[in-house]
């Protein structure tokens, strides 16, 4: 079979990048980002991007670099707090922002990947989110009709991937990534560790490989922590007196 494995993220993204691309990017804030893919997007200089991501970076880092570079025309997300680059360009009117309730955001992406034409959710009824959308009462409860989200490209990061594209995520870095991988024409996975088929037990796969078109091993990540919260070790050797 023609392989899915690429040597570098630039190779993996070759032929896909263009101005006006719709890009889904997994991760929650700066955690679990496809860091090398984001850097490659920045290097490429493509413009007019629509970024579909929960936060579109934060604190000037991650996807916020694309904002700094003025490569982004629109952001579809659920939360933009802590992202001064986005706030500034949104207020200036140079970037359009479409806010979604986070659950609706996730479900719209899932619908995009699962061939669902639309779904009724109770979230957002009576709010600004429902404006212009169909409201429908079903079995005595009111719902908003929400439509699927799709993209040209999804970039996701996983802890382990095999040559067939099967992925396994670490802890809370899973978030939107499996959904986005389903909802994009091309999904590029950036994995901490690339393994041979069979190294992952079939029951251990988080995202089946058919959703991943290209895969590249990237061994080191910055893994920026937004809020490093810890507690003192009680009576520990290094504990405070």
């Amino acid at each position: 079979m023609s392989g899915k494995v690429y040597a570098t993220v630039d190779d993996a993204l070759a032929g896909v990048l263009r101005d006006g691309l719709r890009v889904m990017s997994g991760g929650f804030g700066l955690s679990g980002n496809a860091e090398a893919c984001i850097e490659a997007l920045a290097r490429s200089g493509v413009k007019g991007l629509t970024i579909i991501s929960n936060n579109c970076g934060n604190q000037g880092q991650g996807l916020a670099v694309l904002l700094k570079n003025r490569q982004v025309a629109q952001v579809v997300c659920s939360f933009i707090g802590g992202n001064p680059d986005l706030a500034e360009q949104y207020l200036a009117g140079t970037v359009k922002v479409e806010l979604n309730p986070q659950g609706t955001f996730a479900e719209r992406i899932r619908a995009g990947g699962a061939g669902i034409g639309g779904f009724y959710t109770p979230t957002g009824v009576g709010t600004v989110v429902a404006e212009g959308k169909e409201i429908r009462e079903l079995d005595g409860r009111r719902y908003v009709l929400e439509r699927p989200l799709r993209a040209d490209l999804a970039i996701v990061r996983a802890a382990v991937g095999d040559r067939l594209g099967n992925l396994r995520f670490h802890r809370t870095s899973r978030n939107f990534s499996p959904l986005m991988a389903m909802a994009a024409d091309v999904t590029v996975a950036e994995v901490d560790r690339l393994v041979e088929p069979g190294a992952l037990d079939p029951d251990d796969v988080h995202l089946p490989g058919l959703f991943v078109k290209r895969i590249v091993e990237v061994r080191t990540h910055k893994d920026v922590i937004e809020f490093r919260t810890t507690r003192p070790r009680p009576g520990g050797a290094g504990g405070a007196g």
Binding site: A87, Y90, P101, R171
Partner: protein
């Protein structure tokens, strides 16, 4: 004498029942975890994809890929599970989260909640607030009784943009505990030394005293 910040959080912690699945909103509600009474065992849900969230890690345990919805580093207790955001919000929307304790900007006596944005201020987005408010089986709001300018935050009708309609069961403020009861609030508990008058004057909707 109204409740202190810690009193408020401690009173909120008393809302938690043994065996519940609980989601604590960002900010003050997060601190409720520190006051859950002994013998009450709950599983904390974090909407970014974690059930069974534990306390902050020791310094040498920090995992950049193990965070809560406020993007703080946390731990996973024995029996924890991780999952994607679609399943996480299926839990919320499907009524599998027993209790959400959220911050508030305004609560109306019919249970309408405003807690995500103030017109004219920099927009931050609703994140998971609308899903939690609309989906959790029971919603308890922690907020101050009145705004800094003295304007009531318990009202007959919201003036701020809605988060979800008819979703709040109970509001806890520094003055007491109030249940949304349709066309009025019911004051079910008072902070020590707080009189009817103080409550009535500070509330923008009728209050009945239980």
């Amino acid at each position: 004498m109204s409740w202190s910040r810690d009193d408020l959080v401690r009173r909120a912690a008393a809302e938690v029942r043994d065996g519940q699945i609980v989601n604590l909103g960002i900010g003050l509600p997060t601190e409720v975890a520190n006051f859950i009474p002994p013998g009450v065992s709950v599983q904390l849900h974090s909407e970014n994809g974690l059930l069974g969230m534990g306390p902050f890690p020791y310094d040498d345990e920090v995992d950049p890929q193990l965070i809560n919805a406020g993007k703080q580093t946390v731990t996973a207790l024995p029996g924890a599970s991780t999952f994607d955001s679609a399943l996480s919000f299926a839990m919320i929307r499907g009524g599998h989260v027993d209790l959400a304790i959220l911050g508030g900007l305004e609560v109306a006596c019919n249970g309408d909640l405003a807690n995500w944005t103030v017109p004219g201020k920099l927009i931050t987005g609703m994140g998971g607030a609308m899903d939690l408010a609309a989906g959790a089986k029971r919603v308890v709001v922690l907020q101050s009784h009145v705004a800094k300018d003295g304007k009531p935050k318990l009202v007959a009708r919201l003036t701020l943009p809605v988060t979800a309609l008819a979703c709040v069961h109970r509001v806890i403020t520094e003055l007491g505990v109030f249940d949304a009861a349709g066309d009025h609030f019911v004051c079910v508990e008072r902070a020590p030394g707080v009189g009817d008058g103080e409550i009535t004057r500070g509330t923008g909707a009728p209050v009945r005293f239980a």
